[in-house]
Each structure stands twice: as structure tokens, then as C-alpha cells.
């Protein structure tokens, strides 16, 4: 039987999130897979045309409904389930959007979910990290039920543009609940690159000591065109907002360059940066575990080193 993959698009109402292009690459790892992207939105047209350009996508389905203005799992799940009939696989990204939604879909389909797929070995066999990435588990899907999965975005390059898939309006017949209502989202607006897609990331830890001190990292980041990240300790202490947390329970990222500044290197943090191409560690403790994974380690006081780096790079 040939594989037909339905990918649930992530978007912010106008723009397709890059995580969707990564799901496409993951799905293309299944030999011969026919890929459909579904866009649920209040107004899907702009997002659908972005999805249609992704190389490898055969078709884009749009489901337009005012109830889809905010992507609520309880509202989206019955719509995706109503469309899932012809598909063998339903994929979404392993972002907070996908983590929230996909298990709800899986349960309604009475099937299991494979979380955080990092490789597809066959249409039914997948690799995924467990224990904060300290082990890699290969699982084989047993049975005829649909396969629901979330895709670990750091493991896949985004599918390039160059496609021209047909866009089709889908009508779904599903009762949508009203028990869940969107109230607000507070997203800090920033001109800096997005943490999840940036090619350079500078992260700070507890050692920064205050939100004010984080400014030296922002300043260096601006010089480098880098995104800023943080350890859990730094977020818990209020030095940085929660959306900057990198790690097992924060964001899993794969930048070209990752600089860990005043971060000890707990396993939960390292999980988030395993796929970084080059890791730089700056820490005053030469025994800090972060140095075991760093390509370049520098022992010293960050409050001296960071301004110096900025000066040297600027020159």
C-alpha cells in the first residue's frame, strides 16, 4: 500500500510557520509518499499559497471557518479527523502547536502517536529520542490504524520552494466545541531572528544574574544577527521570557552556531542543542559539563569576555 501523508500546517493567521516545511522533508523520507498539507484558518488563502510552493507537496487543502482564527486543539482535532479518512499518516510539527493538537487527533482516531520523529526508516518504522535525548528508540507501528506523529523540527531541513501544488477547498462535517475560548496571547515583538530558525543563537544562564545583565547578550546578538536563548534557571529567575528557554522542556534548536554563556550544561539543557553545528561555551568553571560538548571552550568571566567579543567582532 502506498503512503498518503496529511500534514497539519502551523501558521499565525497570515504566514506559514517554517515547521511545516520541515514536516514535508520528514514525510518525503517515506518512499513514494504522496503529501497533502491541510491549512485550517479563518482565511486560508495566503497561507495555502505558501504551502503550495513547498517542493514535494502534491495538494493543499483549506478549511476556512471563523472558529479557526485561533488554533485551538479541541476545535481543530475533529476537523482533521473528518479529513483523515484517505490518509495513512497524519503528521504535525513537534512545536507547542503540534504537541498540543496531534495527540488529540490520535486519540479520536483510536491510534498511537510517535512523538518527535527524528528519522523515518520505513513507512512504519521511526526513530525518536527518549530520556531527554539520552537514548534513541526505534519503534515499529503495528497494525492497520493510521500513524500519527509529531516531527522533531531540529532533525530536518526545511523543504525548499519550487512546488506548485493544487489548492482545494475542503468542507468538513464536524461538530466544533465551544467549551474552549481563546483569550489572549502575549508575544514579545522583536526584530531579532526567531530562536527556532536562527542560524546563530546566543544563550545566557543563571550566571547573568539579572534581566538587565541580559542586555550584554542582546547587544552581542545584534552584532551577529543572532537570536537570544536562555537556560531554564535564567527563565525561572525572570532574567528572560519563557519563550527563550532552550532544552528538554523548552525549544529544541539546530543553529550553525550556539554560544552558551554562563550555562553549566545540565542534560536537560543539552537536549535542546544536540544538533547545533558548532557549540561555544563560556564559563568560569573549567569543570562545567558544558565543556564536554563544546567545540570551543573558553574559561573565564563572562562579564569581561562578552563585551570583548563584541568589540573584536565589531572591528
Amino acid at each position: 500500500m502506498s503512503s498518503k501523508v496529511l500534514i497539519v500546517a502551523e501558521h499565525d493567521g497570515t504566514k506559514l510557520n517554517p515547521s511545516t516545511a520541515k514536516c514535508v522533508t520528514c514525510a518525503r523520507g517515506i518512499t513514494g509518499a504522496e503529501i497533502t498539507v491541510v491549512v485550517c484558518a479563518a482565511d486560508a488563502s495566503a497561507i495555502a499559497s505558501q504551502a503550495a510552493q513547498l517542493a514535494g507537496v502534491a495538494k493543499v487543502l483549506t478549511v476556512e471557518n471563523p472558529a479557526n482564527a485561533h488554533l485551538l486543539a479541541a476545535v481543530l482535532a475533529p476537523q482533521i479527523v473528518a479529513l483523515a479518512g484517505p490518509f495513512t499518516h497524519v503528521f504535525g510539527p513537534s512545536t507547542t502547536f503540534g504537541k498540543d493538537l496531534m495527540p488529540r487527533i490520535a486519540a479520536l482516531l483510536d491510534t498511537a502517536q510517535v512523538s518527535d520523529v527524528m528519522a523515518t526508516q520505513s513507512p512504519t518504522r521511526f526513530c525518536r529520542p527518549i530520556y531527554a535525548g539520552n537514548a534513541i528508540l526505534t519503534v515499529e507501528f503495528d497494525g492497520a490504524a493510521k500513524i500519527v506523529a509529531t516531527v522533531r523540527t531540529a532533525s530536518f531541513e526545511a523543504a525548499p520552494n519550487g512546488g506548485s501544488a493544487a489548492i482545494e477547498k475542503a468542507s468538513v462535517d464536524a461538530a466544533l466545541p465551544t467549551h474552549t475560548r481563546f483569550v489572549a496571547v502575549s508575544a514579545a515583538k522583536s526584530d531579532r531572528p526567531d530562536l527556532q530558525t536562527a542560524s546563530r543563537v546566543i544563550s545566557g544562564g543563571r550566571a547573568l544574574g539579572s534581566a538587565d545583565a541580559f542586555k550584554i547578550l542582546y547587544s552581542l546578538a545584534d552584532k551577529l544577527g543572532a537570536a537570544v536563548g536562555a537556560s531554564r534557571a535564567a527563565v525561572d529567575a525572570g532574567f528572560a521570557p519563557n519563550e527563550l528557554q532552550v532544552g528538554q522542556t523548552g525549544k529544541i534548536i539546530a543553529p550553525e552556531l550556539y554560544m552558551a554563556i554562563g550555562i553549566s550544561g545540565a542534560i536537560q539543557h543539552l537536549t535542546g542543542i544536540k544538533d547545533a553545528r558548532t557549540i561555544v561555551a563560556i564559563n568560569k568553571d573549567s569543570e562545567a559539563p558544558i565543556f564536554e560538548v563544546a567545540d570551543f571552550g573558553l574559561v573565564g568571566d563572562l562579564f569581561q569576555i562578552v563585551p570583548e567579543l563584541e568589540r573584536l567582532i565589531g572591528a
Binding site: 502547536f97 498540543d100 495527540p103 526505534t138 503495528d142 474552549t180 522542556t249 560538548v293 570583548e308 567579543l309
Partner: protein, 249 residues
């Protein structure tokens, strides 16, 4: 009675260095420290605080797992839970099975809120709460960093990739906890003694009518690829030089 149900999973303690068995059949758990999943401690703490504020009358903890989960349930009782339910089952319990089992207990206990962790730190699945909410046909508010209850509703702040999202959900509902929701209390010695007398009911999956289906075969476990050991640079200038040489600056 206004009741909160809390999921408690027994997992390898987060401080343990995980090792894969040489034959690839699993990770080494013999003689390893086991604890309550950290997110579930946060779930229990939240339930206890809601009860202490008068928002609930009873906190019931639930676990599905083998007989050796009972110490973790006792710890939960010592933290302040009123009752424990232990659904005994050996072997792999997939999130869908856990969700179906919890649903059976929900039908029996009629809670106004179910609080689970956002993920179990062993399998890192992050599925059970969402699956339970789907099967129960009720709202879910995942990755919560703030929960406020008011007349038949909950207002929940969620940690999402974009920042903080606030949802309003009708009760009953499922909430899953993120790390910053609260800081769990420590268990005091007298409470451990008292907990021994609190009710702990033992059930089985078949007695509550849930089939322990395993849909994902565990083919093999492997250690992750190791990073090559890097080099030490002596100062900022040498670091900049090294990064320039690699074309990273």
C-alpha cells in the same frame, strides 16, 4: 464533591545518568533511583493549592503501573493527597492506554479538574493529557504556567512557542503542567507517617475494562551519537579567530 484527579507516573529520577543496555533492549533501570515525574509533582502541588484556597474538597492521585509504583503514591499522599488509586499493570503502558484508564476513573470519580504533567521525562511523549481530553470530549489546557478557577470555568496561561497564551475553558477540563506553574512543597517526616494510613485502592486494567494494547513495537534502544571533544581557547581574541577560520563569523 468537588474533586481533582492528579496523574502520577513513576520515572527514573531526573538526576540519573541514563545508560542504554548493551543488547539494545532498553535502558538500565536496575538499582536506579525512581521518583515521581517532576511535572506530576507540580500537578499535585497545584491541586493541593486549589484545595487549600477552597476551590476543591478532595485531591485523588492516580497511577497506572506495576506494584513497585506504590512508594511514589505514598509520597504523593504524604505531600497532601487525600486518596490514591493504583491501577496495576506490568509491561509497556502507551499513552492511549493510560488515557483510557484515567478516563474510566474520571467516569467513576467525576472530578471538576484533571491535572497531569505536560510530559513524562522517561518516554518524553507528551500525549496522555491531550488524549484524555479528546476521549472525554472536554477542554484541554496544556503546558500551563498559571491556573485560576472561577464558577465552572478555568482561566489558564499556557507556555507556547510565541510566548504566553491565555485560554478560558469550561469545567470539567484537563490541564497539563509546565515547570513554572509552581514549586512543589517538601514532604515532612510526620506526613510520611500519616500517609501510611491514607486510603490506597488497588485496581487492575481488566477490572476497569481497559485493554492493554501495545501499538508501537520497541525495536531497539541505542545511545545517542557522541559529539567530538572540542578544544579550549585561551581568550576572546583566539575564540573570534577560531570562529572566523570556520567561517562562522
Amino acid at each position: 464533591m468537588k474533586r481533582i484527579l492528579v496523574g502520577i507516573k513513576r520515572v527514573v529520577d531526573y538526576n540519573v545518568r541514563i545508560r542504554v543496555k548493551p543488547d539494545g533492549s532498553g535502558v538500565i533501570t536496575d538499582g536506579v533511583k525512581m521518583s515521581i515525574n517532576p511535572f506530576d509533582e507540580i500537578a499535585l502541588e497545584e491541586a493541593l493549592r486549589i484545595k487549600e484556597r477552597g476551590g476543591a474538597e478532595e485531591v485523588v492521585v492516580v497511577t497506572i503501573g506495576p506494584a513497585d509504583c506504590q512508594p511514589q503514591l505514598r509520597t504523593a499522599l504524604a505531600m497532601g493527597a487525600d486518596r490514591a488509586l493504583h491501577v496495576q499493570a506490568d509491561g509497556v503502558i502507551e499513552p492511549l492506554v493510560a488515557a483510557k484508564a484515567i478516563l474510566k476513573l474520571v467516569e467513576r470519580e467525576q472530578p471538576l479538574l484533571v491535572i497531569l504533567g505536560k510530559q513524562a521525562i522517561d518516554d518524553d511523549n507528551s500525549q496522555t493529557g491531550q488524549m484524555l481530553a479528546a476521549l472525554w470530549n472536554r477542554p484541554q489546557a496544556t503546558f500551563a504556567s498559571k491556573v485560576e478557577l472561577a464558577e465552572g470555568k478555568a482561566r489558564v496561561t499556557r507556555e507556547v512557542d510565541a510566548g504566553l497564551e491565555t485560554l478560558e475553558v469550561d469545567l470539567p477540563a484537563v490541564v497539563t503542567t509546565d515547570l513554572r506553574l509552581n514549586e512543589p512543597r517538601y514532604v515532612k517526616l510526620p506526613d510520611i507517617m500519616k500517609a501510611k494510613k491514607k486510603p490506597l485502592e488497588t485496581l487492575t486494567l481488566s477490572a476497569i475494562g481497559v485493554e492493554q494494547k501495545q501499538r508501537l513495537k520497541l525495536v531497539k534502544f541505542e545511545p545517542p551519537p557522541q559529539r567530538q571533544k572540542g578544544i579550549r581557547v585561551k581568550d576572546a581574541a583566539e575564540l573570534v579567530e577560531a570562529l572566523r577560520t570556520k567561517g562562522l563569523l
